[in-house]
């Protein structure tokens, strides 16, 4: 059963908070989505179909794997522009809570 508590837990695990009113919209969306998916679940023999994760098979073999040569494309100086806080050449963050 999906309720606000469940949604709140999901949101927290995704590292954001949502407003109370936002959950109402979301609950309605869940309602619709789950109903539609129930319909899909009832398609005959659906469980026998191989799930599709790619639009088509690219038919690649091991020769497409990357040759193992190294090339460092960026360094800390190029990172800096987007780093909010750092010390030496390391990105700084407040203490990690266990």
């Amino acid at each position: 059963m999906i309720d606000k508590n469940k949604l709140n837990d999901l949101a927290n695990r995704l590292m954001f908070k949502m407003e109370d009113g936002e959950y109402d919209t979301l609950l309605r969306e869940f309602d619709i989505t789950l109903k539609q998916m129930e319909f899909i679940g009832n398609i005959k023999d659906i469980e026998k179909v191989n799930p599709m994760f790619y639009p088509f098979d690219l038919e690649l073999d091991d020769s497409y794997l990357r040759e193992d040569t190294f090339n460092n494309e960026i360094d800390f100086n190029s990172m800096l522009i987007n780093v909010k806080d750092y010390e030496g050449s390391k990105v700084k963050v407040p203490k990690v809570v266990e």
């Binding site: 695990r13 040759e67 193992d68 494309e73 800390f76 050449s89």
Partner: protein, 473 residues
Amino acid sequence: MSKYVPVIGLEVHSELKSNSKNFSSSKNGEGEVNTNLCPLDLGYPGTLPVVNKEAVRKSLMVAMALNCNVPEKLCFDRKNYYYPDLPKGYQITQFGSPIGVHGYVMIDTDSGPKKISIQDTHLEEDTANMDHMSTYSLIDYNRAGVPLLETVTDPCINSADEAILFLEAYRNILLYLDASDARADLGQIRVDVNVSLKREEDSKLGTRVEMKNINSFKTVREAIISEIDRQTKILESGGVIEQETRRYDENLGTSVFMRSKVDAVDYKYYRESNIPEIKLRDSFIDSVKNCLPILEYERRHKYIDVYGIGKVDAYTLTKDKKLSDYFEKIISYGSNPVDTSNMIVGFLLGYMNKNFLSLEDIKINEDDFSSVIKMMSDGKISNKQAKDIFTKAIEEDKNVMDIAKEMGSQISDKEEIRRIINEVFSENTKVIEDYKNGKNVNGFIMGLIMKKTSGKVNPGITNMVLKEELEKL
């Protein structure tokens, strides 16, 4: 009441050796802080993974060495979780179709050989490195994306000793394959341990407790022993084991609570569609298979069972693949395996150790090494002479066979030896007195003879002649 049996499973993470990272082209190896970087390693939007062939090759080798089945197609999945050392917010790993499944590793326990079954081994990527200060943490992304191989055993290990035997065997497989340097002190091999207890007669496993990220085998042992102890106490006092993740605290000598099952992260594994399925052709599989060396366990058993080398020496010889290779090459030139082993274990390793040398410093080629051992086995030179030849060869960086010639061959002529013995008698009248007074002086005199001749006399013949001469007195 019956005793509790510990049931232990291990997950071993090892960083693979390669030039570049698993999914980007930045360097895998030493480097200044935050220099081994590509956009992907930082999780920048729009970046895509491209799989490193060498990482696949190395993990396939390990999978084969673990006697695993390997898949027809290579696939990767995402493991989703939030942590500051994981820039993409997910780790690319193999969940549905690991590169190796259902394998095993043999270990020799005190009660005989035991098969440790391997659930799977899968290729994934390492996280960034974090330094934790008192109020803040610092992140270095050099390690982010380094190829990591995780091997998972079945819960089939029953003691700390077995766990360590397995870990040593596994590390040696990595070293034999040159797949990883596997240095625990550098974090290149890290272990998660799960422990449960059950009564002997129970078939069902007890509730398991997981301890994560242990950095040395010594600590693994301590952690297992202390956890068995902790759980035993709880059970014996009528308590219940909670399914939870704990962290072993070396200072406390016990595990401390991290999170319970309720708080367990759902990693929401699903297919990484940025990496297409990649068919591993027979030619590729075969080329990897053909590179596989014979491994420690097999070699050790051959040394013991076929060559008749003692157990301890066989362990010593096979512990290091380079040493084992050296030994095997030497005996391929025809020298007796036991004599060769004795020379290596009984002399060479001690010498190397004393002088801080590694095998690379020993320039004696295998053919010559074998010839000297053969001369010794045939009685043409003494054991001491052989050692002297090797010592000289190492210290003076000279050709072994030249030294052998230079030092001359062994004196085995009876009359020549008799002459030398009589010289020794006349030079050491005190000893003769002692002998006449009933003292056993054979050993002492032998020593004097050896010293006088620099060990060149044939010891067997000398001993015989010495007895004859002593009786004459």
